[in-house]
């Protein structure tokens, strides 16, 4: 039987990629963020996952506004990164797990979700940077990936409640999967930040702390707010917390927190990293 070994959550800000590229992990500005990762490396080395089911949002690399899926599930043999327009290196491609992707899609549709299925899908910094942070310097990634995309770009966005339910449906799929894989769930993005408008630069430690405090034991508490109120509290891009909420659902009914790091600011963002295990 496949096993869900735990969940890894992290911010995916592009400038993290720049810091890695420059070798700036120990600079005073970056160190408090990168100090959150030795524990992640240790945990991954111990858990040895070979599949990652990921929740993230595309930022205008794979999807444009001509077709904008609310939920999209990758079902490709391989996922490539590409030039996003502002100077990050092109990251290592990821191997897919199409059989598991289709199993997840079957469960989602059986549970009355209506995802877009993608046999070709570029992955952007929202996946590449969390992978670089988790497995620094890897020539190839140690996991095959089932990437799930959530629209956090164009409103209306799916509600937090819906994203948690989506994740729970993915968990049901993983429970009935007959393979022997060791699966890590990954949720990326956030936490609070806002890049646009007169409120650019907004962050909210109090709301982020609420989210991190509730994530393991009371994830339903994160679904109390409408999208509008989440944007108010977390910022226009902080709404990426939806990826975390869905990932938490995919981890399973009960969970315990084993690691947390939080630091303001990285770039314009409240940087956060967490590890959860099933309980």
């Amino acid at each position: 039987m496949a096993e869900v070994v735990g969940a890894y959550f992290t911010s995916h800000v592009p400038s993290i990629g720049g810091a890695i590229h420059r070798g700036a992990q120990d600079d005073p500005y970056w160190k408090p963020f990168f100090d959150g990762f030795p524990r992640v490396h240790e945990w991954l080395a111990e858990m040895k996952p070979d599949v990652a089911v990921t929740f993230s949002n595309d930022h205008g690399l794979n999807f444009f506004l001509d077709k904008m899926p609310t939920f999209a599930v990758g079902a490709a043999e391989e996922y490539h990164n590409a030039d996003e327009g502002w100077g990050l290196p092109v990251y290592t491609s990821m191997k897919g797990h199409p059989a598991l992707s289709w199993h997840v899609i079957e469960q989602l549709v059986a549970d009355e979700f209506d995802p877009v299925t993608c046999q070709e899908m570029l992955v952007d910094h929202a996946l590449s940077i969390p992978f670089e942070l988790a497995w620094p310097g890897a020539d190839q990634w140690p996991v095959r990936v089932v990437p799930i995309g959530i629209n956090t770009v164009q409103h209306p966005l799916p509600s937090a409640r819906r994203c948690l339910a989506l994740g729970r449906s993915v968990h049901r799929a993983l429970q009935s999967w007959q393979g022997a894989e060791r699966i890590v769930i990954i949720g990326t993005g956030g936490l609070s930040h806002q890049l646009d408008g007169e409120r650019a630069g907004f962050m909210n430690r109090e709301y982020d702390t609420f989210c991190m405090d509730k994530l393991a034991a009371e994830p339903d508490a994160l679904t109390r707010d409408s999208i509008h109120e989440i944007v108010r509290q977390a910022g226009t891009q902080g709404v990426e917390v939806l990826n975390w909420i869905a990932a938490r659902g995919a981890l399973g009914p009960s969970a315990r927190e084993i690691h947390r790091n939080y630091h303001i600011p990285i770039s314009n963002t409240a940087g956060a990293t967490m590890l959860l295990e099933p309980a």
Partner: protein
């Protein structure tokens, strides 16, 4: 501004914030389509070589064209620009999200960066 003032009141508009919704997506389609094209290095070069011609090719509205010409980020957002796509335009000029934040808040880049650090 205090954090409470930046958050505002539940049910009310969010201060200093435009949600990128269907109306904005319709209005901003041409501008965002142009910015999306900047994923390709050749298109970034073509824009730099002939900005006027490149904007015309994407049929920017006069308001969008003016905002791009004036490097007016709030103007681009008002014209339907989405920040994830606009970031690709900013990248052409070597501007990062702190530069863009400073442009939108009327602060110097140094003051904007300090404002971020002050939230630690």
């Amino acid at each position: 501004m205090t954090i409470a003032a930046m958050i505002g009141k539940p049910g009310k508009p969010i201060p200093g914030t435009t949600l990128f919704d269907g109306e904005a997506a319709r209005k901003g389609y041409a501008l965002n389509a142009m910015c999306y094209s900047f994923n390709e290095a050749a298109n970034r070069q073509a824009f730099l070589a002939d900005e006027e011609g490149y904007c015309a090719r994407y049929r920017l509205t006069p308001g969008q064209r003016r905002a791009v010409a004036e490097r007016d980020v709030l103007g681009m957002i008002a014209a339907g620009g989405n920040i994830y796509y606009l970031a690709k335009l900013a990248g052409i000029f070597g501007l990062n999200v702190q530069d863009v934040g400073a442009m939108q808040t009327g602060m110097s880049v140094a003051a904007f960066k300090q404002m971020l650090l002050d939230q630690a």
